[in-house]
């Protein structure tokens, strides 16, 4: 019976998670509270929020677990910069500065922030954290975990079998052979920000035809045993972490895209970039499929649990389920580094002797406070009233073409808005989609939106839905028809969310059915480049700045 806090920090997407007596009590990403997108800094606010949500004092924590080994990380940084001698001098200086000035002391920083003894703070392995988060949250047994990301301490990819003390490593692939590095380099090459623009590459790829397969296959080669090899000389993460690719990649693929220029997919130049995105996406999917087959061959497990940043590639996940050897596939929704905090807490709980309660609901963050929303809204000069039936009323507005900001309960764990902090509108109207993209969210026109639908209608609208991934939108499904053009991507797929009877959007979707609509467009409550909203004040801030038609915080309706 223990209270364990897990923490990830100092690379990207810092987070905290609290597990009490083997049950996940709270999990919160720091960016949602600090309002700095992908905030990597020590998640002080998230830690405090988790403790408050669990109603527990820091002194009562039995253990605090950091999600990776800071010493091995320092070792890799040093070895990597010497291996690149003499060009690694700049990297050595910058990396050592942040390591010695900050990152190396993370366990002390945690002890100091919490006011607990340093001995109570320990660390686990990066990929094992990912694996634990995937296996312990998966809704099935007889599973193998596959963790794929940029790099942990040393490895970029690993296969894990469940075991009593936490996942057991079966096989692994070492950095710099890394699918995360490969995709990050392509992301930067296409002019997007690394660790953030990867979703954009995936969205863009649907607009292209993969005519650069030969070139991309020279960069990433899949072996017969399911492993893969990068042409490491074309990647330069050590020397230029913000772009990750080297001159050799430019020689192979042509000049990179400058980041500031607006996209015009009718131009030949941008079509070339879309085609490159398509080839890179296809190569990634093939590599992930090969890894899935290798994991199955090595363990014989019937089910697959995924985590690590690459597991956020929902198109690859869809192919794993459709073409891979597994009956079921699950992705821990905060598959990136944030999820490491959850895995670390779960591993800590196991080592304290607790059995893990596998029930998992992603509504693990800070709670919405409608009274406070109403009071602050009135001080902002907005209209704020309680309504008897917010679902019915919101459905009427949505049916009439409104764009509705929707805040319900505790905020989501993972990158997707799942109905707790969502922007909603009709999915059958492309005009509304364009208004949302340009006016409300201010993002590129090629970015797709996702539909949300109740479980019982999912299979009529989308092939293969619902499945283990659709509740947290970690996969894509092919739309049965073109009835939802506002939230179906150009290739006919959609990153559908399915909602069970307990889901935050169940009531609203039922009310929509009275208006002849079985699905809604559901996107995150934030503008481009901002983190998803958590607190109600952030929702109000968004409402004032970006002007959706109405904001509902539980049963409080806010209008201008």
């Amino acid at each position: 019976m223990a209270a364990v806090l897990g923490v990830s920090a100092h690379y990207h997407d810092a987070a905290a998670a609290l597990v009490v007596d083997g049950r996940i009590v709270a999990a919160q990403q720091e960016e949602r509270l600090s309002r700095v997108k992908n905030d990597p800094s020590l998640p002080r606010m998230a830690i405090d929020a988790c403790l408050a949500l669990g109603d527990i004092e820091a002194a009562a924590l039995d253990r605090v677990v950091f999600y990776e080994n800071p010493y091995r990380k320092l070792e890799r940084v040093m070895v990597g910069s010497f291996a690149a001698f003499p060009r690694g001098a700049g990297f050595f200086r910058r990396a050592l500065r942040s390591q010695l000035g900050d990152k190396l002391w993370v366990l002390d920083q945690l002890a100091a922030h919490l006011g607990v003894k340093r001995e109570r703070v320990s660390f686990v392995d990066h990929h094992q954290s990912h694996a634990a988060s995937a296996l312990d949250c998966a809704p099935f047994d007889d599973a193998v975990a596959l963790t794929i990301d940029g790099v942990g301490e040393q490895e970029s990819t690993a296969i894990w079998a469940p075991a009593d003390g936490g996942p057991r490593r079966v096989a692994s692939i070492d950095y710099p052979h890394s699918l995360g590095l490969f995709y990050a380099a392509i992301t930067a090459y296409l002019g997007f920000r690394v660790n953030e623009g990867e979703f954009k590459v995936m969205g863009l790829s649907a607009y292209g035809t993969s005519r650069f397969d030969d070139e991309v296959n020279q960069l990433l080669r899949v072996a017969a045993d399911g492993s893969f090899r990068l042409r490491t000389s074309a990647f330069d993460e050590h020397l230029r972490p913000d772009r990750a690719y080297g001159d050799e990649l430019v020689q192979l693929l042509g000049p990179a895209r400058e980041s500031q220029r607006p996209w015009d997919l009718d131009s030949g130049e941008d079509r070339r970039f879309a085609d490159l995105a398509a080839s890179a996406q296809r190569a990634l999917e093939e590599a992930v499929l090969a890894l899935g087959r290798a994991a199955h061959e090595r363990t014989g497990a019937r089910h697959l649990a995924l985590a690590g940043g690459v597991a956020l590639n929902c198109s690859a996940n869809a192919r794993l389920l459709a073409e891979g050897p597994f009956e079921r596939v699950f992705v821990q929704p905060a598959a990136g580094d944030a999820g490491g905090a959850l895995g670390a807490a779960l591993l800590g709980a196991r080592s304290e002797g607790d059995a893990i309660d596998g029930r998992f609901d992603p509504a693990l963050g800070v709670a919405a406070d409608p009274d406070r929303a109403m009071a602050v809204a009135r001080h902002l000069g907005l209209n704020a009233d309680r309504v008897d039936d917010p679902e019915r009323e919101a459905a009427e507005r949505l049916a009439g073409g409104a764009i509705v900001a929707w805040v319900r309960g505790r905020s989501e764990w993972g990158p997707r808005a799942l109905g707790q902090r969502s922007l909603l509108t009709r999915g059958d109207d492309v005009t509304l989609r364009d208004v949302l993209n340009r006016r409300i969210k201010g993002r590129e026109a090629f970015r797709p939106f996702a539909p949300v639908v109740r479980d019982e209608h999912a299979s009529a609208l989308f092939e293969g839905a619902p499945n283990d991934m659709t509740p947290a939108m970690t996969t894509v499904c092919r739309a049965m028809d073109d009835s939802l053009p506002g939230c179906t991507h150009v290739d006919g797929t959609a990153r559908v969310q399915t909602v069970g009877p307990e889901g935050a959007l169940d009531g609203l979707l039922r009310a929509m059915e009275g208006h002849g609509q079985r699905a809604l467009l559901n996107t995150s409550l934030n503008a481009a480049g901002e983190p998803l909203v958590a607190h109600v004040t952030d929702a109000l801030d968004f409402f004032v700045r970006r002007k959706p038609d109405v904001l509902y915080v539980e049963d409080v309706r806010i209008t201008r």
Binding site: R93, S172, R229, T537, D541
Partner: protein, 214 residues
């Protein structure tokens, strides 16, 4: 006195290549201020003050956009705001110190912007007009924070002001210290890198394929 202050505040506008960089640095400061204020709005217990902080944050965000646009114009090509961490002032020091700190910053900013407006009035009237619109907001921010310190946050306000001053000075010292030690550290690191390189020759390794664990 004012002439001297004006000279100090506006000196670097004259330097080539400095104008757009400085405007961008202003934009960064505004963007970071907006983050601080949004966090303060989430953290304060009082809904009225939460609303004040949100309005203030919206002003700062708008200023950041104006200044970024002006930096782009001054440079002649697009500039984007780098993304940084933030100081978490409210969380670290509590509401009275936070507001005392904000008040200090707004008062100082107001004085500086008065000098900037005077400097650009004839040299670049469009930029002067943009800075003037920001200045108007800063006067408002300066006075509402003073009212808070005299009213609802009056308990312990003198101590809060002193603490804010210490925080401000401490940050300055760390910025100066960091600027001074930066080059020293860089030289030291280069030296170490070269000296240690032979030791680390064995460090090379680029192993592909599966590693199996029993």
């Amino acid at each position: 006195m004012r002439a001297l202050a004006d000279f100090v505040y506006t000196f670097s506008w004259r330097l080539p290549g400095r104008r757009w960089r400085r405007l961008l640095a202003f934009a960064e400061a505004e963007a970071e201020s907006a983050l601080e204020l949004r966090c303060a709005a989430a953290a304060t217990s009082d809904p009225e003050r939460a609303a004040l902080y949100l309005k203030h944050a919206a002003d700062e965000a708008r200023h950041a956009e104006i200044l970024q646009r002006r930096a782009t114009l001054a440079r002649g090509s697009a500039v984007s705001l780098p993304r940084r961490g933030h100081a978490r002032l409210f969380e670290r020091f509590g509401e009275p110190v936070f507001i005392a700190y904000v008040h200090r910053g707004e008062r100082r900013g107001r004085r500086q912007f008065e000098a900037h407006v005077r400097f650009f009035e004839r040299r670049d009237p469009a930029l002067a007009a943009a800075l003037k619109s920001i200045l108007a907001d800063e006067r408002r921010h300066e006075s509402y924070t003073a009212e808070l310190l005299a009213g609802p946050l009056a308990d312990g306000a003198p101590a809060a002001r002193r603490r804010a001053r210490r925080v401000d000075l401490g940050d300055r010292w760390r910025r100066v210290g960091s600027a001074l030690t930066g080059p020293l550290f860089a030289v030291l690191m280069l030296l170490l890198y070269v000296l240690a390189a032979p030791l680390a020759l064995g460090a090379r390794g680029d192993r592909a394929g599966w590693r199996t664990h029993d």
